[in-house]
């Protein structure tokens, strides 16, 4: 029997179908499950993906209203039992607002995804950026082919700046391997500077995990970089060159893109029962 994951659909999310599709392509059974469906999630599913979008139209703060829904209590229980949970963009905002990430103290909200800090303007920003995965505690540390090597991935958000009022928190998270993805400059060094870091995130964090590593909140969209055809051929890196090479007949539009390894690591964790 194939492992089964739930893609949680809050009112206002808009990436649930492509998220479920790529999980199926990676060999999982994937269902889109409404946030208010009266089912025992933990009994039926081995992993959970919270997709991107605008749950409750980002009212109050992105992710704030959704984080108070009872389904988050069920997800917190599943997380405590070791189930892998991946929040992408709006899903990440929900996990942070619900206190599942970084989750150092049970039920406490320990961080925020603040509005982007960009020169001369505020608001929504979308772009391709480069991030690096340097190992750590989360299931992303097993993402084949991308650990330690910067790769391109798209971001699209207005509130993507990981912050905390606790000044030492992010140093602690870095030390404990709970920042699985960081934005990098062209030289490959992590940075919080625009435009390489699109939002001013602390330590250039693009994702956080909990201490156990089974819950990951990431702002970039791996499902939008799953296939090579989704990668712009103008990207100044090997992925852009690969895409450009398609015109010469080298490879297929449906060859893996850089985001596939991220989602494959999640799928592997679901198959392994979150261990």
């Amino acid at each position: 029997m194939r492992a089964r994951a739930a893609v949680i659909q809050f009112p206002g999310v808009n990436c649930e179908f492509e998220s479920a599709r790529v999980l199926r392509e990676l060999g999982l059974e994937a269902d889109i499950v409404g946030w208010n469906e009266p089912i025992d999630l933990a009994a039926r599913y081995g992993g959970f993906l919270l997709p991107g979008g605008f749950a409750y139209q980002d009212r109050v703060r992105a992710g704030a209203i959704a984080s108070r829904e009872p389904v988050l209590t069920a997800l917190a229980e599943a997380a405590a039992a070791g189930a892998p949970i991946l929040g992408i963009c709006n899903g990440a905002q929900i996990l942070v607002e619900a206190g599942l990430v970084p989750g150092l103290r049970e039920g406490k909200i320990e961080a925020a995804l603040a509005p982007n800090r960009m020169p001369h303007r505020t608001g929504y920003h979308c772009a391709w950026v480069h991030v690096v995965c340097r190992g750590g505690r989360s299931f992303l540390s097993r993402a084949e082919g991308i650990v330690g090597k910067p790769f391109p991935i798209p971001i699209a958000h207005a509130e993507g700046r990981f912050v905390s009022r606790e000044p030492a928190l992010f140093d602690q998270l870095l030390e404990e391997g709970m920042i699985p993805l960081r934005y990098v400059s062209p030289s490959g060094e992590p940075t919080a500077l625009h435009p390489y870091c699109p939002n001013g995130s602390t330590l250039g964090a693009a994702a956080l995990s909990n201490r156990e590593g089974n819950v990951v909140a990431m702002m970039p969209h791996p499902e939008r970089a799953f296939y090579l055809y989704q990668v712009p051929d103008t990207l100044p890196c090997e992925w852009g060159e690969r895409k450009a090479g398609l015109a010469a007949g080298a490879g297929s539009l449906f060859d893996p893109g850089p985001g596939r390894a991220v989602l494959a690591a999640f799928a592997d964790a679901v198959r392994e029962g979150g261990k």
Partner: protein
């Protein structure tokens, strides 16, 4: 002498974001059943050098510029003190981004494009107006704090203190009554 002028801008129709937050607080947050109604306003605080005519100049700018108010959907009022002029017993929660990016942008615009004389500072906040049932008791500010400040998953909703600052005040008698 430095003085302040407050501008409060709200939707003419029922604010659906406030309505969603109201429903969430009532259903999900302990003590939320005491909340009778939640409203929201944009709260602009202009600090100026005290000169005569500043308020009239700002009223004209707001009326004619569409910078702060779209008259097709917004109602607004100026006040010397935003805490005055509210109906009934309510608590006011003013929420600001710690860096107040909106205030800084508005200040830059007023200085560079409109050249408003005497302006020294602009601050922006989202103002939440919490009206309570009569049975809510006297300590409305404390109740408002527990419903507003998001420190845990089952706690408040309106402020994430990891990037937002806030002030909680009780509404005061109207300026006319106070005189």
């Amino acid at each position: 002498m430095s003085r302040k002028l407050d501008l409060l801008v709200s939707l003419r129709t029922r604010d659906l974001a406030a309505l969603t937050a109201e429903e969430t607080i009532r259903k999900r947050i302990p003590g939320g059943e005491k909340l009778a109604r939640l409203d929201r306003a944009d709260f602009w605080e202009f600090t100026f050098d005290g000169r005569e005519g500043f308020r009239e100049a700002m009223e004209k700018l707001v009326r004619e510029s569409n910078l702060f108010v779209n008259p097709n959907k917004h109602a607004y009022r100026f006040a010397d003190d935003y805490r005055t002029g509210w109906q009934g017993a309510c608590a006011l929660v003013a929420v600001r981004g710690r860096e107040d990016l909106e205030g800084a942008l508005a200040e830059e615009t007023l200085r560079s494009r409109y050249r408003v004389p005497g302006l020294t500072r602009v601050r922006y906040a989202t103002l939440w107006i919490l009206q309570f049932d009569a049975a809510a008791g006297e300590d409305l500010a404390l109740l408002a704090e527990s419903l507003s400040i998001a420190t845990e998953r089952k706690g408040g909703l309106l402020v994430n203190p990891h990037y937002q600052d806030y002030e909680i005040e009780r509404s005061r008698p109207s300026e006319r009554t106070a005189r």
